[in-house]
Amino acid sequence: MQVSEKNQVERIAELEQRLAEAEETLEAIRQGDVDAVVINGPTGEQVYALEGPDHPYRILVEEMHQGTVTLDPDGLVLYCNRQFAAMVQTPVESVIGSQIHQYLTQDDAAAFSALIAAAAGGHSQGELNLLAGNDQLVPVLLSLNKLEVSGIQNLCAVITDLTEARRNEAIVKEEQLSRLILEQTAEPVIVIDARGKILRAGEAARRLAGSNVLFQDFGVAFPIFDQDGPVTVSRLVSDVRSQNALRSVEVNMSTREGRAYALLLSASPLWSPGRELLGCVLTLTDITGRKRAEEALARQAEQLAQSNSDLRQFAYSASHDLQEPLRHLAIYTELLQQRYAGKLDPEADQFIERTIDAAHRMERLLRDLLAYTHAADAPQGDAASVDANSVLAKVLATFEQHIAKENAVITSGPLPVLCVHEVHLSQLFQNLISNSFKYHGNAPLKLHIWADGADDGTWRLSVEDNGIGIDGRYHQQVFGLFKRLHGSSRYTGNGIGLAICQKIVQRYGGKIWVESTSGEGSIFRFTLPGKESAHAKA
């Protein structure tokens, strides 16, 4: 009886307790001291809130992208949503009831306190770092609001994760930099992926293509081709793969609007760390202008060559075909002279004489013209190095008799090695020395030949005589074709020697001129390329 009594007593105590609790529950509900009741519904336990239809807002709070916590004024976390718990890498249940300071470093705690103080005015906002469960720092924007509900002051914080934004910022900064570079470069620059889609194109590239080419296929936006045909993306990519880069390959482009360009294509590959081709960076340098200029120049040179050839042919024809009738003219006039000299009136003889002279002179002119036409023709091969000293010696040898007869004194300084054809140098010396002999004054001829060099490898040769000199007014004229300053009664010659000299000198890119005063001798000077001169050409 005692045991069952004991049991009964215990049982009663237990029942009393449970009753008390049940009554308490009912009382609490009746008094409105509860937030919600839990009821076993058709789909399981359901919670019915007793304060207002907050369901949608609850969902919002729970599901929203930002983290949110409700804190008491001392920083105790009364509530947090899933997002916040994820931010700090801690289970929700552990976050609720913990101190917010758990998730702040010392520095950030100070910042947080400052924010709370600032929230006294209703709202405050600031950036700080949260310390996540894995000891990582998460940059966040904290937005604090004072929350008064039923007389109780709490704080509501909305926390926005700035990690993404920060990263994007960095990317955006980098993006901005590379975009700036891309835009500013004067060369068309294009970035394509491995399949040829244009990912980036600078301003210059867009202008070249004539449209906004972003995300277009490279082959479509830039229809380029070389001598092997169209340069397709696959060809380009495989070339870049095999050669690791393309440097200044000449290509042509023909746009849909019919514009043609000549371009230099360079391509560099973009490799992933795993050696996979991500894409290429291409530059297309517009050389159309340059090419056109080159072509125009080539055409001009061709025309010039043709023109020269025509002239030469003409000159040759003229002199050659004119010679025949001239010959007859001369001979028949002589026949006239022979048969009728003295048999016609007195002047007739003179007329005939003059006709014969004229014919002979014309013959010489034609011969000289022919000589002038061919004056600077190149013998076979390129200009070799010639020792001017030996050439001068050979030429002087042909004047031996003249030198002896006139008691001429000819001296020379050391002459350089020149990059010209020997026959041309020979002709130059020949003509100038011959002139010196022809136009020497009363005193015996004194001739001095020397050379001085310039920095760029050209040489200036000088032939100085003590002859009759040339007045300044005629310094240019003397080099003209068939130009003479003296009547043929005083000095013979056709006036072609200096013209030939000029033609020869010009052929080597040099100049020839005279320094002289009437009655005081002359110095003829001309420039020619030396052995290592930049002007040296064949």
């Binding site: 010679q323 010959r327 007859h328 001369a330 002589e334």
Partner: protein, 146 residues
């Protein structure tokens, strides 16, 4: 060997198209005192036809000397010269080439083709008249062969 049609006359075949030069050549022979029987062809084709005739007809007389201007119409002087040297009857006949060209290459080439003498047509009378003496000498040199 056949002789000229008239024994005391030199038989000359002149291939020349310029009448002015023809006159001068005749004048040159005249001044040299040569009495000439002239056969004149004014183009290369005609000259060759004349040679053909000589070859095909034994009774046609051969010229003693031939004067050949290089610059005649139709066939070139080279071709005529070649034809001459191919001819059985004229293979050894002296041929004097006349030309206004100054080219040395021409001279070499023509001597190789069988020319006997090379005369450059001068532009003064005295020199031209020397042709007469040249023809006489060339003929006299060739006579022992006949």
């Amino acid at each position: 060997m056949t002789e000229g049609a008239q024994p005391d006359r030199l038989s000359l075949l002149l291939v020349e198209d310029s009448p002015a030069d023809v006159y001068l050549v005749r004048e040159a022979m005249r001044r040299e005192g040569l009495r000439v029987h002239w056969d004149i062809a004014d183009d290369g084709e005609w000259a060759i036809r004349m040679i053909d005739e000589v070859d095909s007809n034994a009774s046609t007389p051969c010229p003693d000397v031939m004067l050949l201007d290089l610059n005649v119409p139709r066939c070139t002087g080279d071709e005529v010269l070649e034809r001459i040297r191919r001819s059985p009857r004229l293979a050894h006949t002296p041929v004097v080439i006349m030309t206004s060209s100054e080219s040395l290459d021409d001279r070499d080439r023509l001597m190789k083709l069988g020319a006997t003498e090379y005369f450059r047509k001068p532009s003064n009378l005295r020199e031209f008249m020397k042709l007469g003496r040249l023809v006489r000498e060339v003929h006299e040199r060739s006579v022992p062969l006949k």
